[in-house]
Amino acid sequence: MAYSPQRTRALQGLTVAAVVLFAIALYLALFWVGPERTQGEVQRVFYVHLGSFLGAFLSFTATVVAGIAYLRTRSSKWDTLGLASVEIGLGLSAITVITGMTWAKPIWNTWWTWDPRLTSVAIMWLAYAAYLMLRSGIEDPERQRRFAAVYGIIAFASVLFTIIIVRIRPDTIHPVVAGPTQADPTGSFDVTDRIRDTLFFNLFTFAVITAVLIWHRIRLENLVQRVSRRKMEVLAEL
């Protein structure tokens, strides 16, 4: 499959935009916004922590959309989107977890605790890691795509659970940035105008980075599938 030059140019342009945005986002988070009064310098991790979670959320949402679209159309392009978005989502949620741990150590005095939010995010990560294992465990391509689509839709429950849990469980210590909470979190801070602007810029940047990474991953998958098909054709001719 040959890509149109316009699409390739669009991907190149978006990639450059993502790099520039990322550089600006880092400048804003590390230099432009001052350190938070009560938490100190480690609060700057928050911009990447939340940005990467947004990226993971968008990726896993794309997996659901791809799963539904595949089950309706049986077009393999949706399966490719599902696979690409799960892989990128896993990477981004790994960033969320690890940056959260580095923030938790000085603020909560522990790297990890089995808090409802932390437990649910660990379950979410494992649920999507299982998606990749499920795929590799099925040989029949059509069956693999169908099972992956269904699993990708079901696994999204873990994402929703992760988002909702801090709002419904009173025993969580994880701070809530937006919306109501029944808990008394440890590590909340006042959001100043600069913190808010930096946060929104980082969220936007991570959304663009997510789109670019998924797009590149889709191109890789298309290439891998094309090479595999050609190899099969060559072998069949021998």
């Binding site: 590390l30 350190p35 009064r37 009560t38 938490q39 100190g40 310098e41 480690v42 700057r44 991790v45 990447v48 922590h49 990467s52 990128i88 990477g91 790994a94 960033i95 690890i98 940056t99 580095t102 923030w103 150590k105 000085p106 990474l213 590149h216 991953r217 191109r219 890789l220 290439l223 891998v224 094309r226 090479v227 050609r230 190899k231 060559v234 001719e237």
Partner: protein
């Protein structure tokens, strides 16, 4: 204000490592797949060339008995002259 800048560095370093790993993995697999595609193309081209050569060999016209056979017969010890 608490002094915890090393944890901030740690967080950003972890992010950088995971990002580089993700991008590097995509790039490395892309290079690998592109190289594999080149090899398949090369193999296909060689196969085509071999087939074309074989087709040329089989479609070559058969030797004319009227031109080649007499020379052989003339020099043969079994010819009428000998």
């Amino acid at each position: 204000m608490p002094d915890n800048i090393e944890y901030m560095y740690m967080g950003y370093a972890a992010m950088a490592i995971i990002m580089v790993a993700m991008i590097g993995w995509i790039y490395w697999r892309y290079r690998l797949a592109a190289r594999e595609e080149q090899l398949v193309e090369q193999f296909e081209a060689e196969e085509r060339a071999e087939r074309a050569a074989a087709a040329r060999a089989t479609s070559r016209p058969a030797p004319d008995p009227g031109t080649e056979t007499p020379a052989v017969v003339a020099n043969s010890p079994l010819s009428e002259e000998s």
